[in-house]
Structures are given as structure tokens and as C-alpha cells.
């Protein structure tokens, strides 16, 4: 069973508000991913890290999205000014290392923008 911890499980924000969610990857997993899953089950890869360094990221939607994985602190994903289209399940996942293939997912943070 995955030990990736995501908080909060549910987040409700008004349009224009900041939305911040956190992720504690499994212990010893240096690679962390963030994905957005919409109501149609479409996944969008957002960003991934190895330790504190960004490996890959998409052009984060007009720069409203930011993410970090500081050492000795939870990883975080923040939306600076929430829009209705940001309503989705945000999934964090971690992987033991570059040589590993299995990815372990958290239960997600469901963001609703009203």
C-alpha cells in the first residue's frame, strides 16, 4: 500500500483565491510527480522533481501554478489565482529512484473552485 500522504483531501476555493496542497512522498523516494486528473479521467502531468530539483514540467498554465519540494519539508503545489477549470483531483506520486518503474500515488487532493 502506498504511503504517499496528501493534504488536504478536499479543498474549496473561490475564483481568484490561492489554493495550496501538500504531499509527503514515501520515505526514501527521491522522485516526486504531480498530476491533475479531471472529471473525464484525463490526466495532465504537471511537474516532477528529483530531490529538490525540477526534472520536467509543463508550461504551467499561464504561470499560475508553482511547485516545490524543499528538503525536510513536504512538497507543495500552489495555484496562485484559482479558476473554475482548475477543479480536479490533484495526485502526487513518488518513485524510489531513476531505475525504478513502479510509481506510488497518494489519495489526492480534490480541488473545487466555486
Amino acid at each position: 500500500n502506498s504511503k504517499v500522504i496528501q493534504t488536504p483531501r478536499y479543498l474549496v476555493k473561490g475564483q481568484g483565491q490561492k489554493a495550496k496542497m501538500r504531499c509527503i512522498p514515501e520515505k526514501g523516494h527521491p522522485v516526486v510527480f504531480w498530476y491533475q486528473q479531471n472529471k473525464n479521467n484525463e490526466f495532465k502531468f504537471l511537474i516532477n522533481f528529483q530531490n529538490q530539483e525540477v526534472l520536467q514540467q509543463i508550461d504551467m498554465t499561464e504561470k499560475r501554478f508553482s511547485a516545490e519540494c524543499p528538503s525536510n519539508s513536504p512538497c507543495s503545489l500552489e495555484i496562485q489565482s484559482s479558476e473554475a477549470g482548475d477543479s480536479a483531483l490533484y495526485l502526487c506520486a513518488s518513485r524510489p529512484g531513476q531505475g525504478a518503474t513502479e510509481v506510488f500515488f497518494g489519495k489526492g487532493t480534490r480541488l473545487t473552485v466555486v
Binding site: 504517499v4 496528501q6 479521467n41 490526466f43 502531468f45 495526485l91 518503474t101 497518494g106 489519495k107
Partner: protein, 115 residues
Amino acid sequence: TQTVSQSDAHVTVFEGDSVELRCNYSYGGSIYLSWYIQHHGRGLQFLLKYYSGNPVVQGVNGFEAEFSKSDSSFHLRKASVHWSDSAVYFCAVSPAYQGGRALIFGTGTTVSVSP
């Protein structure tokens, strides 16, 4: 452009029946293929993966999948489903040699198991 296609959005089966979930992909390079399951309200759980070798791979809970290079497919099968197999199943591809190896998912197949 990498794509993953799951042609069946919804499959309904009876408990004890067999099930096959189809996955076809389009990618030009070396890849990992995997299947994940998502129960309602929960995160994705890994079922199985393929990279090379025997094209039939065994996963957890009696699931297996078969890779076909000629068909660009990686179909998931289970011989006898249980009610607890009701969930959404996602096929995923990740490039083998890209630094982060982000997963590219299909849009899922919802499996409903009736008693």
C-alpha cells in the same frame, strides 16, 4: 506525440466472469507499459508493468497483461473477477530513457462487477 487509447469506457461483467481491458499506445521509442487501478475515492494503485522479456506479465490479484509490439497493445486480463475488482483501470506509458519518465495515461475503463 505519445498517446494511450483505452477503447472501452465502461465494461460490465458478472462475478466469476473473465474480463479483458484493451489498451493501445502510440510511441516511437523504448517504453515502460503499466496498468493502474483506482477505486472510488482512492489514489491509483499499481497492478503490473512490462518493459522487456516475456510479453505476458503477472500482476497482483490475479491480473495479467500481454504486450504485443505488432499491435502496439498491452491488454489487461483477469480470468475470474470478484466484486472488489469494480474500479477504474488505467493503462499508462512512460518513455524509458527520459529523465523524469512521466506517465502518460489513457482515459480509463470503468469495470462494474455484478453479483
